[in-house]
């Protein structure tokens, strides 16, 4: 996928952030979303390895060896940041004190089930903090390409891979569409400017409900 598509997804996700929210960003496109936060919106980034108030990457040469994010990248702090241990960190996450988590995914389905940590038969990485983030954050946003690199749909009737969490997805943002996960099923909210509704439906295995005319994003 081109960098443009990745940026489109990150940019669209950034519009979900509201001033003052506590947000946890996974690596890749989720982290990119921090670059597109609308003016006047200040969010507090939580890093599950033990702090809130994460800032951008340091100037090269200014890295602090004791300061990384959960993706193993050196970062900086914003004023008002503070540190805590891992039990407190996941207490914050499970306790509903993270307003939004943004994660990548391998699959998501009509029930809002998320599968993003293991592919049987391939090298195992482990779930890290993903299961806690999905179970605990108030809103789970999935940042993902609409299909995998072989063109297979990632938005499924039912996940085929081992689940990370049951029924926890709230919003799916791809390069083609913005889809809301509701108790009644998946609702197509927006379609990318370079896509048609049919394009989206064709690339999606899950059933998508269209309640109002979908909006357009780019």
């Amino acid at each position: 996928m081109s960098y443009d598509y990745r940026e489109r997804i990150a940019r669209r996700i950034a519009r979900e952030f509201q001033d003052g929210q506590v947000v946890n960003l996974g690596i890749g496109m989720p982290t990119m979303a921090a670059n597109f936060i609308p003016e006047g919106v200040n969010i507090i980034l939580q890093s599950e390895n033990g702090f809130v108030g994460m800032g951008p990457s340091p100037v090269p040469g200014q890295e602090d060896p004791d300061l990384i994010n959960a993706g193993n990248q050196h970062v900086t702090l914003k004023p008002g940041a503070c540190f805590f241990d891992s039990a407190t960190s996941f207490g914050i996450i499970r306790g509903g004190h993270v307003d939004i988590t943004v994660l990548g995914t391998l699959e998501v389905d009509e029930q809002g089930n998320i599968a993003n940590y293991i592919v049987p038969g391939k090298m195992v990485a482990g779930m890290g903090g993903a299961m806690d983030l999905c179970a605990g954050a108030r809103k789970v946003i999935l940042a993902t390409t609409h299909c995998d690199k072989d063109g297979n749909p990632k938005i499924r009737k039912k996940c085929t891979l081992p689940l990370t969490a049951v029924g926890q997805a709230d919003l799916i943002v791809t390069e083609k569409a913005v889809i809301e996960c509701t108790p009644e099923g998946l609702v197509l909210l927006e379609v990318a400017a370079d896509c048609s509704i049919d394009d989206v439906l064709q690339a999606t295995e899950a059933e998508l409900m269209i309640l109002d005319t979908p909006g357009v994003f780019a």
């Binding site: 241990d85 499970r94 482990g126 081992p162």
Partner: protein, 231 residues
């Protein structure tokens, strides 16, 4: 009271077959000097509890490479392909635990609790063999406490009584592991006299620490700067 000890002696008290908790997150906060000495002394058949498998040749990855690690209880091994290989070849076992559950199980082990109810992992492979409870319409898994024989932790400052202050994101699992283990060795950058640390700023009471090993700051740089991967 003076808990400062010689590195070699501090590690010599660890037996083969021990369960060792090692602090750190992707090697940040891992006491590399203590791990190096454990490799040198060669205790075998170790069960290691650590957030992750470190990196190849860094953090607990050193114990993977030296084949001293038999079982790893962890949340993530993605940044250390050598661990994946050892697991697939049957040389070592890996027990995967969600990171928040791992932290809380260790905390329970140190605080005399038998276990806790967490929503994490309900309906996933993590649920296998565990009891599910429903409270006010929400499902939880009963997760049990985790203890160790030895904790190897890293802190920034210590006093001679073993009171510790951690620094930035190197705190992570370190203060949780000490209470959960019988014998606790802390690698520290600085040791001051008792009374020099502000009692409100101490992050781990010295009653949890058995031995302090002073390691000069320049030995404490990160072993490996491999970036990427999602722990």
């Amino acid at each position: 009271m003076n808990k400062e000890r010689d590195l070699v002696q501090a590690i010599a008290d660890i037996a083969s077959g021990s369960t060792i908790m090692v602090g750190g997150f992707m090697t940040v906060g891992t006491p590399e000097i203590l791990v190096d000495e454990l490799v040198r002394q060669g205790q075998e058949n170790l069960t290691i509890v650590c957030n992750d498998a470190g990196v190849p040749g860094g953090g607990v990855g050193k114990l993977v490479r030296s084949k001293q690690l038999s079982i790893l209880i962890t949340s993530h091994i993605g940044l250390n392909p050598e661990m994946g290989k050892a697991m697939n070849s049957g040389e070592a076992q890996v027990q995967l635990v969600p990171q928040g559950t791992l932290a809380e199980r260790i905390r329970c082990g140190g605080t005399g609790l038998g276990g806790f109810l967490t929503p994490t992992g309900v309906g996933t492979l993590v649920e296998e063999g565990k009891e599910r409870k429903t409270l006010d319409g929400k499902d939880y898994l009963l997760e049990l406490s985790l203890k160790g024989d030895v904790a190897l932790i890293k802190a920034h400052r210590a006093d001679r009584a073993g009171n510790l202050i951690f620094r930035m994101s190197a705190r992570n699992f370190n203060p949780l592991m000490a209470p959960a283990c019988q014998y606790v060795v802390a690698q520290v950058s600085e040791i001051v006299e008792i009374g020099e640390l502000d009692p409100d700023e101490i992050m781990l009471p010295g009653i949890f620490v058995d031995a302090l090993v002073l390691a000069p700051a320049d030995d404490q740089t990160r072993t490996n700067e491999t970036e990427g991967g999602a722990p």
